[in-house]
């Protein structure tokens, strides 16, 4: 009941938003729905439910909570953002090629539908319904990426639509192969797609199960941004409005990760966990290494954050692949990364609307021009790079220790990638914050734009200082559900 309400509320509000005239009223719908959705998610935390198409298990509620929280923060930011966006043509980054925005009501409506589809991902109890929901996230977010109507965002939208649709198509094929793997089991093929029926695992045919797992990882990995399937990610994250980038990195990538976790659950149930873990360690290390190399050479603030997301998705895959305590810390990492990355994208958005460029070469002195946003930018970088006392320090340390237990070379590769990424990001972040100022201070900063990233980073800090007992217990249950040892 509660679970259906969680999906229906943003879906209906989204449809209503399409018909409302642009203006303050349609904007205010965002934080209103965001707040109610967050309250419902909190209520749902203590109400485990199963059976039927929709339900929340220990994994689903963790991802639902992150999604809802990130949406709430970005929705508050979005109100200020939309108020300050000019109505007519505005100059492009380089000053040429003026562009206008898409209709505000459509933007708000698609944001709410995007929330609805991500909620559905978290509460699906059937793998094909999960597939339908993940494909729906692509379709609801594509118009969001093309909010600024210029050629670059259009190119990014087309790439996103095609790469993700095809990738997710392969995941559907993976679902069908799962049915084949289960065909000789006692309860017949299609039952395997129900998450409640995981107990029948051992009867799966290992040959077809492995093939299915690879297709599922490739399919959902495309959406999650694992290298070499990440090609859409930097373009989309850099061209979308920052509110949308924050949601893509902070919520959507996690939802795709949940899709992969479901596949791991099935493999683990069938005694094929070792195979699944090897695949994930490979994807994880590759994603971290390649992202770190791209980070060394970043010239654009938002592209840098996007590659950092690829790197962190690599850490998540690696943590699950390593097993043991790595699973718990991968899930904890997902929570922390969402908080920090969403905050960073929101700050990058404030920079973009003040300086009108994302190019590092043309930025500088942000901490003088925008003291609050500049401070948050540096704090966010400190948090993202895994420096204590932020939560990411704890989770990266946990994954490192899991790596040391499995194979010291994996731990070494992990550390080298982290260090490389740190160097690459530090150069950009410090140039932007402390370099020679390009705009004379002071620029007025609105609370609507400062408060959401501040709150997100404060939470990341709190999680680093002490993890509340209920969250630790929730993450432990979720890690146990993944089922790898």
């Amino acid at each position: 009941m509660l679970v259906s309400l969680l999906c229906l509320l943003p879906a209906l509000a989204g449809l209503v938003a399409f018909w409302l005239p642009p203006g303050p009223r349609v904007r205010r719908l965002l934080p209103a729905v965001g707040a109610v959705h967050f309250l419902l998610s909190v209520l749902a935390w203590n109400e485990p439910s199963g059976g039927g198409w929709l339900g929340l298990d220990a994994l689903g509620r963790v991802f639902l909570a992150i999604t809802s929280l990130v949406f709430l923060a970005t929705s508050v930011y979005a109100v200020s953002y939309l108020r300050e966006e000019p109505a007519g043509l505005q100059p492009d980054m380089g000053g040429e090629d003026p562009f206008s925005n898409a209709k505000e009501s459509v933007f708000v409506g698609c944001l709410l539908l995007f929330l609805a589809s991500m909620t559905l991902v978290c509460v699906s109890r059937h793998l094909t319904l999960l597939w339908v929901a993940i494909e729906a996230t692509t379709l609801a977010s594509a118009p969001l990426i093309y909010f600024h109507r210029h050629r670059r965002s259009l190119e990014a939208t087309w790439k996103y639509l095609l790469v993700c649709s095809v990738g997710i198509g392969l995941a559907l094929l993976g679902n069908f192969l799962l049915v084949l793997a289960a065909a000789r089991g006692a309860s017949g093929g299609a039952e395997v797609l129900w998450l409640d029926g995981l107990a029948q695992g051992p009867e799966l045919d290992p040959h077809w199960l492995r093939l299915a797992f690879i297709l599922l990882v490739v399919g959902y990995g495309t959406k999650m941004g694992l290298v070499p399937l990440h090609t859409w990610l930097p373009d989309t994250h850099s061209e979308a409005p920052s509110v949308v980038s924050a949601l893509l990195s902070g919520a959507l990538l996690n939802c795709a990760f949940l899709g992969i976790l479901r596949a791991v659950q099935i493999c683990a149930g069938a005694g094929q966990a070792a195979f699944a873990q090897q695949v994930l360690v490979g994807f994880g290390l590759l994603s971290m290494a390649v992202a770190a190399l791209f980070l060394l050479n970043s010239k654009d603030t938002k592209r840098m954050l996007a590659y950092s997301s690829v790197e962190h998705m690599g850490i998540l895959a690696l943590g699950i692949g390593l097993g043991g305590a790595g699973v718990f810390f991968a899930l904890f990492h997902a929570v922390n990364h969402s908080l920090c990355k969403a905050a960073m994208f929101l700050v990058a958005g404030t920079f973009l609307s003040t300086f009108r460029t994302r190019l590092v070469a043309r930025l500088g002195g942000a901490i003088h021009t925008l003291p609050v946003a500049g401070g948050l930018w540096v704090a966010g970088f400190v948090a993202l790079s895994g420096t204590p006392p932020f939560g990411l320090f704890l989770s990266e340390l946990g994954v490192l220790r899991a790596g040391l237990q499995v194979n010291p070379w994996i731990a070494a590769a992990f550390l080298v990638s982290l260090a490389t990424a740190f160097v690459g990001m530090a150069r950009v972040v410090l140039t932007v914050a402390l370099g020679p100022p390009v705009l004379a201070p002071p620029v007025r900063e609105s609370w609507g734009k400062s408060l959401p990233p501040l709150a997100l980073l404060a939470l990341a800090l709190l999680l680093g200082l002490s993890v509340p007992a209920w969250l630790a217990e929730g993450l432990r249950q979720a890690a146990a559900l993944v089922g790898v040892s």
């Binding site: 198409w53 059937h126 094909t128 319904l129 597939w131 339908v132 494909e135 729906a136 692509t138 379709l139 594509a142 118009p143 093309y146 109507r149 210029h150 050629r151 670059r152 259009l154 190119e155 990014a156 939208t157 087309w158 790439k159 639509l161 095609l162 649709s165 095809v166 198509g169 559907l172 094929l173 069908f176 192969l177 049915v179 084949l180 793997a181 065909a183 000789r184 093929g189 299609a190 045919d205 040959h207 077809w208 930097p234 373009d235 850099s238 061209e239 791209f294 050479n297 010239k299 654009d300 592209r303």
Partner: protein, 214 residues
């Protein structure tokens, strides 16, 4: 019913070759519609003993979407964006046809070597499904225009749906409808995007869209 099944499967293969060999977009779109009809009728021929109201309704929805709505949406994008109806391949039509035939041979060989754990309702079904899927991916890669890429995606989806038919006699109705709904919105959103691409770039050649890198 083997005769009917084979007839429908051969129709799907012909539609693949039609898409690969045709040099005009409207003709490719007609091939897609033709394939949609064949695919929509396939469940009745494959499982003649299990025709229920659910199945009939689903087939009606599927055929309406794949044979009428999608081709219509693509054709409208073609007309409204005033696209030049030439296909403009990277890979020539002759070579494309060879690839199409090779994909079928490869798929047949694949299922010879890795026998399925179930007895599919027809020996040809799985190879044709995989070959359709591969042809879709090939069209996606080997054609320059955004519209042909959308077309390739739909052929790819047809392949996956055919594969599903061999594995699951029928998935739950809600799921099947959900998948179709997703594909419908995918085509809808792609159609709108194509229209914008044409307006912004004055072409649908995706090679012109190459500003984002690094």
């Amino acid at each position: 019913m083997t005769g009917t099944v084979d007839f429908l499967l051969v129709s799907m293969v012909l539609a693949n070759l039609w898409v690969l060999g045709s040099s005009r977009l409207p003709s490719c779109i007609r091939a897609l519609a033709f394939q949609g009809v064949a695919l929509g009728l396939l469940p009745f021929a494959l499982y003649p003993g299990h025709i229920t109201w659910d199945l009939v309704m689903l087939a009606l929805v599927s055929i309406t979407l794949k044979a009428v709505v999608f081709p219509h949406l693509l054709k409208r994008a073609l007309l409204e964006a005033r696209v030049d109806p030439q296909v403009e391949p990277f890979v020539g039509h002759g070579v494309s046809l060879v690839v199409g035939v090779a994909s079928l041979a490869l798929s047949v060989a694949l299922f010879r070597r890795h026998p399925l754990p179930i007895v599919p309702p027809s020996d040809l079904l799985m190879p044709v499904a995989v070959s359709t899927l591969l042809v879709g991916l090939f069209v996606l890669i080997a054609r320059r225009k955004a519209l042909t890429q959308a077309l390739g995606y739909l052929v790819f989806e047809n392949g996956i749906q055919a594969f599903g038919l061999g594995v699951l006699q029928h998935a739950p109705l809600m799921v099947e409808l959900g998948i179709l709904l997703d594909i419908f919105f995918a085509v809808f959103v792609m159609g709108i995007t194509i229209f914008h691409i044409r307006r912004a770039f004055a072409t649908l050649d995706t090679m012109e869209m190459a500003e984002l890198r690094g």
